[in-house]
């Protein structure tokens, strides 16, 4: 109501005076008719329903729906491919730039620790005054191990096996170096107690530190294999969606052909081509990536593992060879029949020889075989020289044995250094092989996510255009 309830009296008086023709009580400006909007809303809803009904029953409507579905499918295919391949690219990248380096670092931790132990024993045998070179090498080894431990700790998730082993290593390393310093101090005074400390340190190394480092290496290698597996897994969802999209596209084109007798619809053809390209690209890239990873595993990782085992074998053999001279028969095997260190030397050289044979088999090219053969030849020479030295020692010629083991020329120490250098070259070669193969695998996938997305959008546009073209025939 536009008028207040008390208003009629005065206007009525005025109206009678000025405009007697107007009936009293009738508003001058009638308010808009109430109830007009609700019927309009109901009709919009109804229109929508009506449209849908029309769409499913009339050809233009069906075409619109088909166009939408096709566009959606093609885009979804592109997106899922991009997503799933992106995942695998990340995993492959992890293999190359994270988990394999970590596994290699863990091996390097082991190697540094074992080398430190060997170097300490070797410096010890040189007499009361440790050579500066040997001291520097020991310091370098300990520093390397400590640095890599920090790196390993930073990239571990704080729980789980790796973290536990890293904690053990961090706790025990200072204790080990403490024992070595005590051994040095006693040795400098010419006390045989130094030998006892050195043996104690070696025992800590071989019974606590090295096993922990080995478990860390294993844990990191498991992680590497996990990353490798995720990179290798087929993207089934993307492939399935691709096939489905192709099927729907094919059906849509058959339908168009059946109704219009036109063989080609350019838009739909473009969509099909885009989908097919993505699908083929996906299959090809993934196959290449898998074969790259296979290569990295068989030629790289397995070779690296064999070479690492060989290197560890050579390091422990050297440490035990030196300890044989430090202990001078004071420590015997469990059965009390043989020198403990001599027995362990023998088993370590066996490990070395076996691992070298495995590495030789795994080496896939001459560049890989040459250093392995060199290492094997030097190992044979080392064994021969060791036998010589043992003979001297057993004949009571300790100085002669010492010269053959830590002497500057033609000594087993020389052989050991040569074996180590050859293994170093072989490891570097296999590491390159691994990084290259795994890198190839990653690179095969790198461009695919973006390409899949772009082609998906292009394909969707094609589908929409193709359908629109048919649709326009109805207007």
């Amino acid at each position: 109501m536009t008028h207040p309830p008390n208003a009629p009296a005065a206007p009525a008086a005025r109206s009678t005076a000025q405009a007697p023709a107007r009936p009293a009580g009738v508003p001058a400006q009638p308010s808009p008719a109430p109830g007009a909007t609700p019927p309009a809303g109901r009709s919009a809803w109804a229109v929508g329903r009506e449209r849908l009904r029309v769409a499913t029953t009339t050809e233009p409507g069906r075409l619109q729906i088909l166009g939408a579905v096709l566009a959606l499918l093609v885009v979804a295919f592109g997106a899922v491919t991009a997503f799933q391949v992106g995942d695998r690219t990340t995993a492959a990248d992890d293999v190359v730039s994270r988990s394999q380096p970590l596994s290699a670092d863990a091996a390097a931790i082991y190697r540094s620790l074992a080398d430190a132990d060997t170097t300490a024993a070797s410096g010890f045998l040189a007499g009361t005054l440790e050579p500066a070179e040997s001291r520097a090498r020991y310091d370098r080894d300990i520093a390397t191990a400590a640095r890599l431990l920090v790196k390993a700790a930073a990239s571990t998730d704080g729980s789980g096996e790796s973290a536990r082993e890293i904690a053990t290593l961090n706790e025990q390393l200072p204790r080990y170096t403490g024992l070595i310093e005590r051994a040095r101090a006693a040795n400098r005074q010419g006390l045989p107690l130094g030998g006892a400390y050195l043996r104690y340190a070696n025992q800590q190394m071989t019974s606590i530190l090295l096993p922990a480092a080995e478990r860390l290496y294993e844990a990191e290698t498991v992680r590497l294999h996990k990353d490798e597996e995720s990179a290798r897994t087929w993207p089934f969802l993307a492939v399935g969606l691709g096939l489905l999209t192709l099927a729907v596209l094919f059906w849509a084109q058959r339908r168009t052909y059946a109704r219009t007798n036109r063989v080609f619809n350019h838009g739909l053809l473009a969509a099909t081509a885009a989908t097919l390209t993505v699908l083929l690209w996906l299959l090809a890239a993934h196959t290449v990536a898998r074969s790259g990873l296979d290569d990295a595993r068989t030629h790289g990782q397995e070779s690296l593992q064999a070479l690492n085992t060989a290197r560890i074998g050579s390091l422990t053999a050297r440490a035990n060879e030196l300890l044989t001279l430090v202990a001078r028969g004071a420590v015997l095997t469990e059965d009390g029949k043989n020198d403990k260190y001599e027995a362990e030397y023998t088993s370590s050289t066996d490990t070395l020889t076996d691992a070298l044979a495995t590495a030789r088999e795994l080496a896939d090219d001459d560049a890989g075989r040459v250093p392995v053969d060199e290492a094997a030849a030097r190992t044979a020479e080392w064994k021969q020289r060791h036998k010589d030295a043992r003979g001297k020692d057993e004949a009571g010629d300790f100085e002669g044995a010492l010269g053959r083991i830590v002497g500057p020329k033609d000594s087993t120490g020389h052989s050991f250094d040569q074996v180590d250098a050859a293994l170093d070259r072989a490891l570097a070669h296999e590491q390159t092989e691994f990084t290259r193969s795994a890198g190839d695998a990653r690179d095969a996938l790198t461009a695919l996510p973006l390409g899949a997305l772009a082609l998906g959008i292009l394909g969707a546009a094609g589908a929409v255009l193709g359908i629109n073209r048919r649709l326009s025939e109805y207007r």
Binding site: G190, R328, V331
Partner: protein, 345 residues
Amino acid sequence: MPNGTYPLARRTAQRFRGWGGVAAMAVACGLTASLTLLPLAHESSDAAAVPGIAGPGPGVGTGVQIKADTCDKPWASLTPSTADGPSIEAIKKRGKLVVGVDQSSYRWGYRNPETRALEGFDIDLARAIAKDILGSPDAVIFRAIPTNQRIAALDSGKVDLVVRTMTINCKRIQQVAFSTAYFQAGQQVLAPKLATGITGYDTSLKGKRVCTAEGSTAYEALEEKSFGALFKDEADGTKDDKDLLTVPNQLDCLARLQMGEVDAVVTDNALAAGQAAQDPAVELKGTPFTTEFYGVAAKLGNDDLVRRVNQVLVGYRQGPWQQAYKTWLEKDLPGITGPPAPLYK
């Protein structure tokens, strides 16, 4: 002789229990010791006979008669003689005496890293023997042999003699020929000087962590009577042995002691003296609670060589021994007045 300082009452439960007293008398009697010794030794050996048969039985061989005979007094050796025999002649022909020694027992047989020369009580004795046979104390080739190779080295002819803190016992006299005893040792407790609570092999060891070498006489003694000391590792004798309380070598015990991982060490006092010599903060506690004799070993059957060594020892006991003792051992193993008296078969 160390035995003059040991009260008779302490010498209980030991294999050669009569020997301490016997030897004490030997000190008093001087050169006539061997005369008084025989009946006393015989008397004491009756008591020792039982462990002598039951203890080292497995290695003693088949003849019960022989075993009983020889084990009454395994330290009894052949009478001294200067007569040349085939083994002496072989040594003279070679011009060098080959002696198996230790290279890592401080004060006994040890290569001084500074001089690169072997030195110690055993080394001096070996040189004295070489001087007697070949005329020069340097006419000797030392061969370092591990403990377990002592007998094998003699058997194979690798060495003529072994002078390497080798204890004469019933088992070994079946395998090698020993000279007369040149040193008397015994198991003793070693602990830090500040550890005044530890007074020796007694109840003061209760609850203490005691380190011994695996398979040593000291370990066996603790197994028999430990006074409540902790001396076994959890996984002893297996691969998981942590080597905390039982270690491969007696010297490893000193490292554990310095690290504060054990409270005391039980070992041969001769070797313990070598440990104390390397650490002024530790000392031998109480008195030895076993009696062992060290002898020079030769291949079984090389009687002329054994007699010759015994002849050397006769002279060696008259001064050179005391000199060597003073040089190498007195500081850490004080109170020994002389070598054990020889006993002949």
